[in-house]
């Protein structure tokens, strides 16, 4: 299917269109509310900073904590550099294996964010898919999907994730437990969060279904799957992105909690939650930095994403309030 003739005829250079889009965005309400909310600007900056440093971890971290050769057990349990026994080489100190805490945090937030994003994407694809089908098809399919959603929403998401994770871990053979741990974790967190997407998308799909463009598409005999993907999907995605941002904070918390409980990310490539669990054993011997710094990193990350999500919900979609 080519573009309509009217759009092809007017040819605007790409850079001009980009500038126009930017100018329109800068004039808009959303941008105005963004600029005038210092908390949101700060939260966005912090979120981007954490994401950037997590992505760039292999290049900016002082040490590769997974490279056993670079670790020196003699350096284990070094306090932060500003304390009496500190070593300027290790800004935030080292853990029990001599790993630089700052580096483990950088690599750890990388894994936390990776699991968080993948779980959110999994939830989103599942929830949006079921929601569109439910809203478009209606009938018994809709009834079944919504009944399942209703049952699931009556249990807390973290409990669903923990139970799914716990059951799957006992089902998979021990030999493959290590390599499958991340997949199991992402599946468990993902499956615990699809309901909200499905409910929102279903209700907007039910509105779109009766619009003229959908009826027209149906009349000229376009396949229902194509109508759902090409025509309805782009029109119901707005609120989904807002839900996804708020969900990201929840997914990161869930991952950290499961890892802290010892049923999440394995300690060989620790996430923030795993780091906190490892460090927790040393809290009482006075080596607080091993657990407190990763905890602070996790808290700041979640708080920043939450603030960003709150603002997005208010600015982009007042109805969701």
């Amino acid at each position: 299917m080519g573009k309509p003739a009217s759009l092809q005829a007017v040819h605007i250079p790409l850079h001009r269109r980009a500038i126009d889009a930017l100018r329109r965005a800068a004039d808009g309400d959303v941008f105005y509310s963004f600029i005038h909310s210092p908390v949101t600007v700060a939260a966005t900056a912090v979120t981007l900073l954490i994401i950037l440093s997590a992505v760039l971890a292999p290049w900016i971290a002082p040490q590769d904590p997974f490279d056993m050769a670079s670790l020196d057990l003699m350096d284990a349990h070094t306090p932060p550099s500003w304390m009496a026994d500190g070593n300027p080489k290790y800004l935030l100190g080292t853990d029990d294996q001599g790993r630089d805490v700052l580096s483990t945090i950088l690599y750890g937030s990388r894994i936390s964010l990776e699991v968080g994003f993948l779980s959110v994407i999994f939830s989103m694809v599942l929830g949006v898919g079921l929601g569109i089908v439910s809203g478009y098809a209606g009938g018994w399919l809709d009834a079944v999907i919504m009944r399942i959603a209703e049952i699931q929403i009556s249990f807390p998401a973290i409990l669903i994730a923990l139970l799914t994770d716990g059951i799957l871990r006992t089902v998979i053979p021990e030999a493959r437990a290590e390599e499958l741990a991340l997949t199991v974790l992402i599946f468990s967190i993902g499956i615990s969060g699809w309901v909200q997407y499905a409910r929102t998308v279903r209700s907007s799909t039910m509105v779109e279904r009766n619009r003229e463009y959908v009826q027209a598409a149906r009349v000229i005999g376009i396949h229902p799957v194509k109508i759902m993907l090409r025509h309805i999907l782009p029109n119901v995605m707005g609120p989904v992105l807002v839900i996804a941002t708020i969900h990201l904070a929840v997914a990161i918390i869930t991952e950290a909690t499961l890892s802290f409980l010892g049923v999440g990310v394995p300690p060989t490539e620790p996430s923030l939650g795993t780091l906190i669990r490892i460090g927790n054993d040393y809290l009482f011997s006075g080596e607080w930095w091993i657990t407190i710094f990763p905890s602070a990193a996790l808290a700041i990350l979640v708080l920043a994403v939450n603030l960003l999500g709150d603002w997005m919900r208010d600015a982009l979609n007042p109805k969701l309030r």
Binding site: R147, G166, V171, A249, A256, V263, L283, G286, L303
Partner: protein
């Protein structure tokens, strides 16, 4: 009304059957139950005989029916780790979890309601802003982090409170309580705060928004016009009308307190059911896992059922809505 209750009951039974099915599949097909029960020197014939005696050769449906029958009577077999009946283990652990959950719920109500009322009445006051910031932090901090921070401050640095266990407990009949000894009470403080924190922020925010809503209504304006005291208006009229949703949410939150207890119990090594379940996951102790699964699902289903029916009884507007919804679905 009866149709609504019957539909809800049917749904509850369905949920329980699905959960029982998952527990049954785990129980029967993850690992070999016979293998768990016998030693290495048991011969194949003896194993086969045991298999037959346990009914593991029966058709799956018969086995499932038997499993459900046993579950209803509270029989979940022997724990692989402890070699003791699962029901017995749960009975020992139940008081610890219930006491913790109850105190946490009370804490969140006693602190959360006044904070909510205050922030509702003084929207832009200085203290309100502090409360709201505090509640955002309460929502953002994962439960286990709150626990670790409390331990760090009050157990490690200040040394005021114990960081793990229940302290001394007193046995009254089959129930053990830590509420009657000083060490038991001291041990309860931090776990209860950790567990109640999330509910506290939730209740506070809920009361606040409900208060803001109610204070705008005409009957509050009329009460002011009649010259009633602020106290009578705020507490007698406004707060009273916010309580229906609060009761519902609190009821529903009891379930999630039980879920979050798993985390709190792990942080504080609190000898409750959640800790038992988590250890069971680590040691692949299937009987405990499946029993916990069924027990928690049962708690949830019962609580949801009661809250739904209560809501229906309390709020007449809902009856009309549900009648309509029922007509569609």
């Amino acid at each position: 009304m009866p149709a609504f209750i019957i539909r809800r009951l049917a749904q509850s039974v369905f949920v329980m059957l699905v959960v029982a099915m998952v527990a049954f599949l785990m129980f029967n097909y993850v690992g070999d139950p016979v293998h768990q029960m016998v030693g290495i020197e048991t011969s194949m014939q003896e194993r086969e005989a045991l298999r037959e005696a346990l009914g593991l050769n029966d058709p799956p449906l018969v086995q499932f029916a038997r499993f459900v029958g046993h579950a209803v009577q509270g029989k979940f077999g022997l724990s692989y780790q402890y070699k003791r009946p699962v029901a017995e283990l749960f009975e020992e652990r139940l008081p610890a979890t219930l006491e913790l959950s109850l105190v946490a719920a009370l804490f969140s109500l006693v602190i959360g309601i006044p904070m909510g009322v205050y922030t509702g009445l003084h929207r832009s006051g200085f203290l309100s802003r502090i409360f709201m910031t505090f509640s955002l932090i309460g929502i953002s901090l994962p439960t286990f982090l709150i626990g670790i921070l409390l331990i760090f401050v009050f157990a490690v640095i200040l040394g005021w409170l114990p960081s793990y266990g229940r302290g001394e407990v007193v046995a009254i009949g089959g129930w053990t309580t830590g509420l009657l000894t000083i060490s038991g009470l001291k041990a309860l403080i931090m776990p209860a705060i950790t567990l109640g924190m999330f509910q506290l922020t939730l209740i506070m925010r809920l009361i606040r928004s409900e208060m803001l809503e109610v204070l705008r209504t005409d009957y509050i304006k009329f009460a002011r016009a009649r010259g009633l005291t602020d106290r009578a208006i705020n507490f007698g009229h406004a707060l009273k009308n916010t309580l229906v949703p609060v009761i519902t949410i609190t009821g529903l939150q009891i379930g999630s307190i039980i879920a979050f207890a798993i985390i709190t119990e792990t942080v504080f090594q609190w000898p409750g059911m959640g800790l038992l379940f988590l250890q069971a996951i680590h040691n692949v102790d299937i009987p405990i896992m499946s029993a916990y699964l069924i027990l928690v699902a049962f708690f949830f289903v019962v609580i949801n059922l009661i809250v739904d029916i209560l809501y229906y009884v309390v709020d007449p507007r809902l009856r009309v809505d549900m009648g309509k919804a029922g007509g569609h679905g």
